[in-house]
Symmetry: D2
Subunit: 368 residues, 4 copies
């Protein structure tokens, strides 16, 4: 079977060729869910050599002992950050708590190593907002300034040239891609001040921390909203939406915790302007993403289910206008650990190293 999901959809991918020698990759802090997902993807990536993975706490433990799914596939052991030869890598992924990447960025860059941070250190350009939400001063504002927000469908060219990429949050990926076609060109089609994002996330979004609130017996067979009064992803989303529109944007964002392991479903609401009423939104979305291999605009009337992207890097979007009224409803789904985190990070790596964007990311979703 042909493995590319459709050449016409991603012509820019086909010009690149794989490097003669594999990319040397390091991972800092690979014990969490984005870490093991990075390992799953990179261990199957045809152009990658996994060099080092660090964990202060698990120093010496074989990775496959913590994650038996990797037995026979990943031979590395966790090494102490002090001993890991990260400076010999071509790229280092940070799958760490917020604040770790920015502490090491300067020395790695000096050694010629590229950085992809899966935490928030290089996502927000607004320093005050970063400090308000992450409760720490930014360690290297000048590096932040050159960092690129790693959402390839919005910033592909900049990512290709970046030394530092801030990999987007899971919620922001869905909201930004679900609203981008409506906001580009000035956002004249919708009321940009009354946007609503009602988002539902699987539990892996909360990470692999020992917290009572994320126990099976707490989360199972239940559903709730959280962070209604404020959530770290809100300023990140707004910053991207404002850049898309080229002006201020008003957004109400309500995240919800859903009893499932992986998966994210964002239901986005936008009110049409009089100008918007005459728009063919199905065509608008299809054209916008015609060249993006990982964005699948579904046929009109679709209601995508999250399992249709489980363990894959795809994002699926369906656009609805109920009763042909003034309220647009955009449904966006992704696997929060893949396109919402580690898959997107690998996609960024591919772009940064001139590989076809889909390299090593062609896994078909696991359904059922």
């Amino acid at each position: 079977m042909e493995l590319l999901p459709g050449a016409p959809r991603a012509p820019h991918n086909l010009m690149a060729t794989a490097p003669a020698t594999p990319i040397q990759v390091g991972i800092v802090g690979g014990t969490g869910y984005t870490g093991v997902e990075l390992l799953r993807l990179l261990a199957q990536h045809p152009s990658v050599q996994l060099r080092a993975i660090t964990s202060r706490k698990e120093d010496g433990m074989p990775v496959a002992e913590m994650y038996p799914s990797l037995r026979g596939r990943v031979d590395l052991a966790f090494s102490h950050p002090d001993n890991a030869s990260l400076a010999d890598c071509d790229v280092v992924f940070f799958a760490t708590p917020h604040g770790v990447a920015m502490a090491q960025a300067e020395s790695l860059l000096a050694a010629g190593v590229k950085i992809i941070d899966l935490a928030a250190d290089f996502r927000l350009q607004d320093l005050a907002s970063f400090e308000q939400w992450y409760k720490m001063p930014h360690a290297c504002p000048q590096i932040l300034r050159e960092a690129v927000y790693g959402l390839p469908e919005l910033h592909r060219e900049a990512i290709a040239k970046a030394r530092v990429v801030g990999n987007p949050g899971c919620y922001p990926t869905t909201v930004a891609l679900g609203l981008a076609p409506l906001l580009e060109n000035g956002g004249r089609l919708i009321d940009t001040q009354t946007l609503i994002a009602d988002c539902k996330s699987g539990v892996t979004g909360a990470g692999r921390k020992a917290e009572v609130g994320m126990l099976y017996s707490e989360v199972s067979d239940s559903f709730k909203a959280y962070g209604v009064a404020g959530h770290r992803h809100h300023p990140e989303i707004v910053e991207q939406l404002q850049a898309l529109r080229g002006g201020p944007v008003g957004l109400t964002f309500v995240p919800h915790l859903t009893p499932m392991v992986r998966g994210m479903h964002s239901t986005l609401y936008a009110r049409l302007t009089p100008e918007g009423r005459d728009t063919d939104f199905q065509a608008l979305f299809e054209q916008r993403y015609a060249n993006d291999a990982f964005v699948d605009v579904m046929p009109a009337g679709s209601t995508p289910e999250t399992r249709s992207v489980r363990a894959s890097n795809m994002i699926r979007i369906a656009v609805h206008r109920p009763n042909n009224g003034d309220q647009l409803v955009v449904l966006v789904i992704q696997d929060n650990l893949v396109k919402g985190a580690s898959g997107q990070a690998v996609q960024n790596m591919n772009i940064m190293f001139g590989l076809p964007e889909t390299t090593g990311l062609q896994h078909i979703a696991v359904l059922p």
Copy 2:
């Protein structure tokens, strides 16, 4: 322990007294989830005598054979509708597909039997809307006209006098109660034309039908919207909201299927009018439901989880106004099988027969 959840909250309940002889109860079509839930509640109700339960298909099968949870507690067998002495009952619950209750209503009423229909036959006063959504002509429009919409918190007095009650749909219960305080008195506090109800339901909401789409392996670990283009509960909700406001209301309603057995979470969005900006919504909601034993307005800032009402008749509401802005967010949870169906039906029965409203409905939620 005192079993009433707080006398001051429901003074009207305390004046009634239990009837000397138990209410004679019949159930038509008790093989589905609302049926077995009715059985669970009625078998533990102190003032009820279960007389007959019918099922054309399961004629002769002991109820406890289909539902082993009822072994030793319900001795009845299903009987054929033709042989069931429903006319000897005081009240008959219809836990049937749409269309069954209206076919039998006239003869039962003639025999002096009250009717509580858990299907849609007596919910919608708008005949055209009924026929459009349920694809059948209404069999008894004159009975429909006298029927009362069985939402006690809105129509308690009318229910007390009713011969026929149309028990509300699960979604409408949450949306109507979540928006009622905002719509009463003319709805001057919010923009009544741009309401949004983003609702999430557990899978029992789809009933106990053999359908591929509701198989464990289809629904588990996944999330999706459905019925975006139109859903039967939409006209039912709108009819109630318009009655509350006393005028037209615009509503976008998007239901979602959530991988949990029981539970419903409605996230409601309303934009404030300038007049609304000065309102203390926490106080407004608390006062509105001060006398309703089954509506619990949570403290400001709460995010209720559906399991906190699992298997109980409670509904919990939390009101949010993020960043003190113009967007009000109301969170409403219930157990879709209890307050969203069978519990509310028993609550209606209590009112119709002069019992304290909470009789037999005091079960504390099962958590975890």
Copy 3:
């Protein structure tokens, strides 16, 4: 509806009468799952006055704030153990880690307070075994000697007279009741040296501790054995089985973790002796439990599902002899938090205080 599940099944219950004044109850350590389940049951118990609930960590927090399911039903706040007037109670339940009850037993008994310990302090009569498995010396061996193992179906008379009851572990309850009819009278029907208990537990069995291994994202959609090399419940089970047989017993016990909140399913294997081959095991089991209100021997050929006892105090047993061969298979189900913990504790309290055994424990299982 009549609330007793069948008078003929439990004649001994009917002779007792409720005390004129409610039992004064204290709970030590009520923040875990057995604690909140005790609260659910006791708050609905007609003869109980909840006096105090202690938690060192949550001192001052209203119970209903931690468990919103109890809002409006339990007004108590957690109090510091030092300030709780436990000595004024009639009975104190310990829903604590192992070792807490034995430290307080002496002073409570001196004050005339009865004790029901849901941890392991008073389960094992073999001190060496206790110390080996719980890694602590026993604080009061003389009290342990008078303590009664709180499995009413085996030790009802002793419980009625006990000052201290060691409430059984969840696994032991199912294994002891599933094998008791085979072991009593010397165990001549089966090979008592090659018993196997293959047990499956819901996740609440692991308690409400912040542990990575019990996170939703770790446990969901997966299944595994654990403790194959040894489990604390093994000596407890064996002690009971040996008492039943009146001699040594050999048991292989393999517990498994199942992705469900509540529920336990034990599949028990026993090889028949030549004498056993002529036994009518269905009749044996039915007769053995004819007077036990909470043990339901299912009809021959049944395969009970755990949800049929969810949130109820019932235990269901089915006996199989595949192909009429020499291998007996006994299936036992319970809700691990009710009959496997808090429900059984309340059942013990009822017996200790002369109440009908089923008082406050009549809840019908929540299905679905």
Copy 4:
């Protein structure tokens, strides 16, 4: 990363080379779970050309419309069996109900097409047993006689030469591989007459049929045994075990339904003979499977969890001898849809066509 999971483990795989032209593959009946799983695997297989997929009922529907996970990856539509050019294929997979493959086998073989049947038509050599359990006469006993049981770890050489392969049932795969090292060489190490297989399956094992018993709301948060009196896989397992031993074998087999989508966990019990007591079972198992790429014998003391093989073709085995006693406990896990069905079918295809056995089956398990 190197994609082979360890050359030393599967030396025989490395001698084969991929065919110059892709294998032409047909699938009969691809609408069920084994069908979509075959599609997932074959669409990513480097040496396969998917030619036709048939469904009487879904004739004309694009496969990706039924399974959106395949959008952009599988362009085929279902075709009517009468129109599908199966005779042009090199191999046809039957992912159909029992009885379909045997009706078409003769004509396909005549056309030179190889057959891999995922149903039971070619599993049991005992015709009487087949007819007893599947309630139909066998249509082609002579073809059955030449058919090979497709468990590569037991019958690799025969599979390589086979025209017809009966792909094993999911339970039999785990039980046969878990007991093979104990039964080969005459089974002198264990009592071969008292074997027990206590097996737990995810819900996809029941297929994608519209049945009330497999609804989410029936299966979720519950656990039960089924088929205790008899199960179709029992004679299939016994036939394999007897072939391994070279003599009669006694087995008690109890399957259980577990609330998870994919995954199977078999807990196997065997009593040691005096000769067995001196055996190093860890070494025995490791040596037995040293050359099998898809069988992972875990380190001593392990308790594998099913998610560690989710969506992968691995099977993991752990051998326990609690307290160094006479009872051996073998834990076996697999993904019932991969190694237990479609993955094993592809593994068989690889062998039949001289490909390295692991071709297209290297997917790392999806965890979490």
